[in-house]
């Protein structure tokens, strides 16, 4: 087998193991409560019958290990259990919400990734000159602002003062794509701003790192133009770090989505998760937590695989 395939297979196996371990961690995380979960969920005023019912429903009478495996088994077969609060099937409620969340994240990524790479390149091209400094100052500011503030500032400014887009982003299946895009315009702007700063700064650093290599000097001493140096010599070596940056930030986007959905009352997974955390609806929290973790681990895995593929030493072994 080509060594590179072996390496990738190893990484994928590692990713699966990590996901497995993460599921244990999430499951254990909801077991940490000292005392009785059912009591905690229902509060002090609960009747003994309702407590017993809930215990049975949560499977609290079984040992934790077997509970974990039946939970995991259900998860793998698409059965996420039922929500405690309203008794509805979690998989069903999650389906449309997950696609809504991905819809939002997708458009944020479509806008922010090319923009970040473009700005990163611009900052490198004009390193230490005003475009670089301006970009650096603006991104430093947006990094220091919580997502929800960007959200409210944009709502205050665009939606309320200018009256352009709606301040709540409610979408449903009956809407056309254009209507949907219109509805999520401000949330997408917020998410873009949130990840753009990190992504652009890291892209800049990654390209600068490559540009400081001795082979860039060799290319300069061949009389090449700056742009063709970047295109022919810097770019092939910068792909891996840039993909890494992009994946890291997409992972970050997944987290940012949670807050943004709450700000805009967007019917996605993040809001669903937050709602049920405050209601202490453990099965929903576990399901959402594991899905978020899976997306996160998956994105990091892609970044790993791309850097393996882009490494000439691994691609062309001695």
């Amino acid at each position: 087998m080509h060594p590179i395939l072996k390496l990738i297979a190893q990484r994928v196996a590692l990713g699966i193991m990590l996901l497995f371990a993460a599921s244990i961690l999430i499951f254990a995380g909801t077991m940490m409560l000292p005392g009785d979960v059912a009591q905690q969920i229902l509060g002090q005023s609960a009747t003994p019958e309702s407590l017993a019912n809930l215990r049975r429903e949560l499977g609290l009478n079984e040992p934790p290990v077997s509970r974990y495996f039946s939970w995991l088994g259900g998860f793998l077969t698409g059965d996420l259990g039922t929500a405690l609060t309203n008794g509805r099937d979690i998989a069903e409620s999650l389906g449309s919400r997950l696609s809504n969340t991905l819809f939002l994240a997708f458009w944020a990524a479509v806008i922010s990734v090319p923009l970040a790479i473009f700005l990163g390149l611009l900052a490198v091209r004009y390193k230490d000159r005003w475009p670089d400094k301006l970009i650096s100052a603006v991104t430093l500011t947006t990094i220091s602002i919580p997502e929800f503030m960007i959200g409210y500032v944009l709502i205050y400014w665009i939606s309320i003062q200018l009256g352009w887009f709606s301040s709540v982003a409610i979408i449903n299946d009956g809407m056309s794509l254009w209507q949907k895009l219109n509805a999520i315009a401000i949330p997408v702007m917020v998410l873009t701003l949130v990840v753009l700063a990190h992504m652009m700064r890291m892209t800049r650093a990654a390209i600068l790192n490559v540009m400081q290599s001795a082979y860039i000097e060799t290319a300069e001493l061949k009389g090449m133009r700056m742009l063709s140096i970047i295109r022919k010599h810097a770019f092939p070596n910068a792909i891996a770090p840039i993909v890494n940056v992009v994946m890291l930030n997409l992972a970050y986007l997944v987290v940012g989505v949670v807050v943004v959905e709450v700000v805009f009352a967007y019917p996605g997974m993040g809001q669903y998760l937050v709602d049920h955390v405050s209601k202490r609806d453990v099965p929903v929290v576990q399901a959402c937590g594991l899905i978020f973790a899976a997306v996160y681990i998956g994105l990091n895995l892609i970044a790993d695989i791309v850097s393996i593929l882009a490494n000439p030493r691994l691609r062309h072994p001695k």
Partner: protein
């Protein structure tokens, strides 16, 4: 002093200002923390410099007390994350072998779940008291400090002067505290600033989601939550605490940036 750049000085000034306000909140605040003193969302006036909030409390007072809570929680969590992370990180780097492996793999695992999501999972069953919040944030974040401390220490432990100390027969205490720590301090201090910012954002986000500091206690994220409905009527009350968070974070960022730059110049310029 003359070597400190203007940006860092501004950062330093605002950082100190916020911390002083947090420490002396009780002396500065014009009203009581949860005291209802006026109407709902009164505009700024002589009586209420920033107006009143969604149930008629003085907004400036809320902001000052909110700063106290936010900064207190963030500081405690940073200290916790820092001591745990850096001690374990150094220990792993100096010991090497299976200790390093076990610690590092465990940290990898924790970091494979986004901290906010992990925090939400835990908070779904835990009571949201201040102690739990600090413990949760501090321990989750210590994984990042661990990675940095370990990486910095590994870079230093391969240096010949550490080997020389080992050959001399020095104990592990001397090696960590006299050989490694002085050389790891600057990057760690700069990182501490960034961790603190992260903590401020983290606790604000949790409170904003209603899962952090519980009312009537004020904290910046919570104040945003309490007043967010006002935005729709063009009332900016929710933006003040957000502005406070942003200025504090930018200031600390400026200071951290300066410390980092100073560190690199110590290593001999940009080489």
């Amino acid at each position: 002093m003359r070597n400190i750049p203007v940006a860092a000085l501004i950062g330093l000034f605002f950082t100190c200002l916020y911390f002083l306000m947090a420490i002396f909140a009780g002396l500065i605040a014009p009203y009581g923390m949860a005291e209802v003193v006026g109407d709902v969302w009164e505009p700024p006036s002589d009586q209420f410099l920033l107006g009143t909030d969604s149930i008629g409390r003085d907004l400036l007072t809320r902001l000052i007390y909110g700063g106290q809570t936010t900064i207190f929680i963030a500081t405690m969590a940073t200290i916790l994350s820092f001591t745990t992370g850096s001690i374990l990180g150094f220990f792993a780097a100096v010991s090497g072998g299976w200790i390093d492996q076990v610690l590092s793999r465990f940290v990898d695992l924790i970091m494979s779940i986004p901290s906010l999501i992990f925090a939400l999972v835990v908070l779904s069953v835990m009571p949201t008291t201040m102690t739990i919040l600090i413990l949760l944030m501090g321990l989750l974040d210590s994984t990042r400090v661990y990675r940095l401390a370990r990486a910095v220490a590994v870079d230093i432990t391969v240096m010949d002067y550490v080997e020389a100390a080992r050959l001399r027969g020095e104990k592990i205490g001397w090696i960590i505290f006299r050989e490694i720590l002085p050389n790891a301090l600057s990057p760690l201090v700069a990182e501490m600033g960034l961790r603190f910012i992260f903590m401020v954002l983290f606790i604000s986000t949790l409170s904003f989601l209603g899962l952090g500091v519980q009312p009537p206690l004020a904290d910046w994220g919570g104040i945003v939550k309490e007043n967010k409905e006002g935005i729709n009527y063009g009332i900016a009350a929710a933006l003040y605490p957000a502005f406070a968070i942003a200025t504090l974070c930018i200031s600390i960022n400026l200071v951290a940036d300066w410390i980092l730059n100073r560190t690199t110049s110590l290593k001999g310029g940009r080489g």
